[in-house]
């Protein structure tokens, strides 16, 4: 059995960046954490949940609530942590900006996990810019050891300078593992809540004073940063001086170990004196940074110095050692033994047995579609369904549907429903539904309730009956919630009951009033069926129509020679019977008796 990590007090552990941040928070006595899951940040909270019971940790309905709750806990004198993906910080931006003015009673570290390369997101925004705009400290670790160390230093800075600290990591930091020297947890007291209206109520008269304090704070931090080990000069060949931060530093050291490097661990405020000292010593300046030309633009405009950066290294996508090698010295790259081979793509698909398949298959067959949202069900956009047409942000499926109706009118409204998961609905979809009721929309909202925040790997949420640690929690009643918004027509459908699913769409598309369909069936990650059954083909009955293949189920492939479907015994999900329902000749059958 693996030991829980809170039982390990010293030595080296092989940790991901996310695990190292959790460890750093634990070591420096963090008391409380509240967050919403989001790739690539999720495992920070999961690690706290599984291994560090000393931290009181919970899932919030969304990032804004998570940040508000940690703000309150900080006011109460606790050390607090909130983690989110980059776009999650947009949701939490309102408390984030003002918390910068208010400052930190108990230390505040906020982790923004950015996703350059867009591995699992809708954009590749660079949240160093958010940190700068909010006038908070931004720290950028370059490996797991620094993820731990910087988190701990973050709390010292936060309490010393009365500021929230933004630890900005990226997918390659979060999901890479390296060896980390760990230490014991050091408890710090919760200092308690004391009334301080001038500090915590930013009415205009107070806010002006707060802003002045923030400006002074940044000046103090700038000076502190010049002598801090967070920022360091590694002098080498003076013909080229590379200014870098985060994971990019590792690519520089890998490909050009001889170069002079200024490694910035704190990228807001910038340590101007140290930067000047560096650029005065080197002949040519180069900026190697992932994302926006943040360091480049700031340093260029401050000192009016030339340098190369974003025009050689793209502002788009991730950096990697090839790009950095070639970017620093033109034409320098390793010879390839074999060229790249063009191959069919392997996009992600809905799992075999996924409850969402029934809904998207039905919409697709009806020539209908959906405005989409963020979750596994975003995959409804893929062939063979092509049944999801828009995504903006968490919760937007509902507002977007409402807006299309406002633009084209009820009569010309295409056959669209809002496709939104239950976790996303609770996150920020409910306000859209309230808007639809209030402003007289007539569309149909489909809440796809699989009782799990699934896309991020399966987290609990207010509808699942469990909390972050898997303990029982009150269940949010979605049906009552929808009715309380003023929706008059609500139905709950098992999306794997295809005739019922179709009836629901047909009737609701005809209805001239707003309606909600809740598709209710648990995610396959929720349970292990008691008995393994797979669909069986009677080849005599098969008429080779491929209707079963068009379900888009990964368990069903097509044997082109024999012209029959092949069911994968590994992938076929025991209690799903979609293929047996769509087969027009009953050639597929499945014994579902006793499968729970």
């Amino acid at each position: 059995m693996r030991k829980k990590l809170n039982q390990v007090d010293s030595g080296k552990l092989f940790l991901s960046g996310n695990e190292a941040i959790a460890r750093g928070a634990w070591e420096c006595g963090v008391h409380f954490s509240s967050s919403y899951p989001g790739t690539p940040s999720t495992e920070i909270m999961e690690t706290i949940g599984s291994d560090y019971p000393e931290i009181d940790a919970q899932w919030a309905p969304n990032e804004k609530v998570g940040m508000e709750v940690i703000a309150g806990a900080s006011f109460g004198g606790a050390r607090v942590l909130s983690t989110m993906k980059h776009v999650g910080l947009n949701v939490a931006a309102d408390p984030f900006y003002t918390l910068s003015y208010i400052g930190a009673t108990g230390g505040i570290v906020i982790v923004s996990a950015d996703d350059p390369g867009v591995h699992s997101s809708q954009n590749e925004q660079d949240n160093r810019l958010m940190g700068r705009a909010a006038k908070v400290v931004v720290l950028e670790p370059s490996d797991s050891q620094e993820a731990l160390d910087f988190t701990k230093i973050g709390y010292e800075i936060s309490e010393k300078f009365d500021t929230p600290v933004l630890v900005r990591v990226t997918t390659r930091i979060c999901h890479s593992k390296s060896l980390v020297e760990v230490g014991p947890r050091v408890e710090v007291p919760v200092t308690g809540y004391t009334k301080d209206i001038a500090k915590r109520v930013p009415i205009p008269a107070n806010a002006r004073k707060m802003h002045a304090r923030v400006v002074k704070r940044l000046a103090d931090l700038e000076e502190w940063g010049c002598d801090s080990p967070l920022n360091k000069i590694e002098m080498g060949d003076k013909s080229i001086g590379i200014i870098t931060s985060g994971i990019s530093y590792q690519y520089v050291k890998e490909t050009h170990p001889e170069a002079s490097v200024l490694k910035l661990g704190m990228t807001n405020p910038l340590p101007w004196r140290l930067i000047k000292e560096f650029i005065d010593q080197v002949e040519n300046i180069m900026y190697v940074e992932e994302g926006e030309p943040y360091l480049e633009e700031r340093i260029r405009s401050k000192f009016l110095v030339d340098g190369i950066g974003s025009e050689r290294l793209s502002v788009m996508g991730e950096l990697n050692p090839e790009l950095v090698r070639h970017g620093i010295k033109d034409g320098e790259k390793l010879p390839l033994t074999f060229e790249e081979i063009a191959l069919p793509g392997r996009p992600p698909t809905l799992c075999a047995g996924c409850p969402h398949r029934g809904a998207f298959h039905t919409l697709s067959k009806m020539g209908a579609s959906s405005t989409g949202d963020i979750g596994c069900y975003t995959l409804g956009l893929m062939p063979p369904y092509n049944a999801l047409e828009t995504v903006v942000c968490m919760g937007a499926a509902i507002g977007v549907l409402a807006g299309i109706e406002k633009a084209v009118g009820r009569e010309k409204m295409p056959k669209l429903v809002s496709a939104i998961g239950e976790s996303t609905f609770v996150h920020s979809g409910i306000t859209g539904l309230i808007d639809m009721v209030y402003n007289g929309n007539t569309g149909t909202v489909m809440i796809m309730d699989n009782s799990l925040t699934a896309m991020t790997g399966g987290q609990e949420n207010p509808t699942t009956g469990k909390n972050l640690r898997g303990e029982p929690a009150p269940v949010l009643d979605l049906e009552k919630l929808v009715l309380a918004c003023g929706v008059k027509h609500l139905r709950v459908v098992d999306p794997h009951d295809l005739p019922e699913m179709k009836r629901a769409f047909v009737e609701e598309f005809e209805r001239e009033e707003l309606s909600v369909i809740i598709t209710k069936r648990p995610c396959i990650m929720q349970y292990k069926p008691k008995r393994k059954t797979i669909a069986v083909l009677d080849p005599e009955k098969c008429i080779h129509c491929k209707i079963c293949v068009k379900l888009g189920c990964p368990a069903i492939s097509w044997d082109a020679e024999k012209k029959i479907p092949v069911i994968s015994e590994i992938l076929c999900w025991p209690n799903c019977n979609l293929c047996t329902q769509v087969c027009p000749k009953d050639a597929l059958s499945k014994d579902l008796e006793g499968v729970v």
Binding site: H175, S176, K177, Q250, L379, P554, S557
Partner: protein, 191 residues
């Protein structure tokens, strides 16, 4: 200073790639090396392509293997093997399962699954094709495919001691599955 070793493990979601790379990293660490690995989660979990980069040596900076630098590419699915051949170093070795998992693009008829064996032969890619399903069935456990592959890889990673491999496997698998995993490793190594 010893030469840096670069390994890529690839395949599709749910095949045990992340577990295999954990075992490799643990074994490298136990043999005294600095080690780093990188992989991408998220959308890849839904049956998409999955890959893990592992690098070990005296001191590792980059978590990513460079194109043209991989000593070993281990593929749990044979088309995925082809996706990474441009990462092979001049003396690099491809080790592939003979397993084909058709992506949805092939299932729905918008793409054709390539003739992997023919491409490997035509291009002269140094490859070891392992009948992994057959061996796993002989061993009576389909979940040991990734360990069979690691066994085959171990011959090309002599810096890692056998003791380290065994300890790493023991650490990562449930006690009752240890014996069958060890046997899987040995079968792979004997190929």
């Amino acid at each position: 200073m010893s030469k840096m070793k670069n390994v890529i493990i690839c395949g599709t979601g749910g095949q045990g790639i992340l577990m295999a790379s954990e075992v490799l990293c643990s074994a490298a660490w136990r043999s005294g090396f600095d080690v780093k690995k990188s992989e991408v989660h998220g959308m890849a979990q839904r049956g998409g392509s999955v890959s893990s980069h592992v690098r070990f040596g005296d001191k590792v900076h980059s978590v990513l293997v460079e194109k043209g630098a991989a000593d070993v590419v281990l593929a749990l699915e044979k088309m995925e093997a082809l996706r990474w051949v441009n990462f092979l170093a001049p003396d690099g070795k491809l080790i592939t399962c003979d397993l084909a998992i058709e992506p949805m693009t092939v299932n729905t008829g918008s793409a054709v699954y390539p003739d992997v064996e023919k491409i490997i032969t035509d291009k002269g890619i140094p490859n070891l094709m392992i009948p992994v399903m057959e061996i796993a069935k002989e061993l009576g456990n389909l979940r040991v495919m990734n360990i069979i592959l690691l066994g085959a890889a171990s011959r090309h990673l002599p810096e890692i001691s056998e003791k380290s491999w065994f300890e790493a496997i023991e650490e990562r698998v449930p006690p009752k599955a240890y014996k069958v995993n060890l046997e899987a490793f040995r079968r792979g190594k004997a190929l």
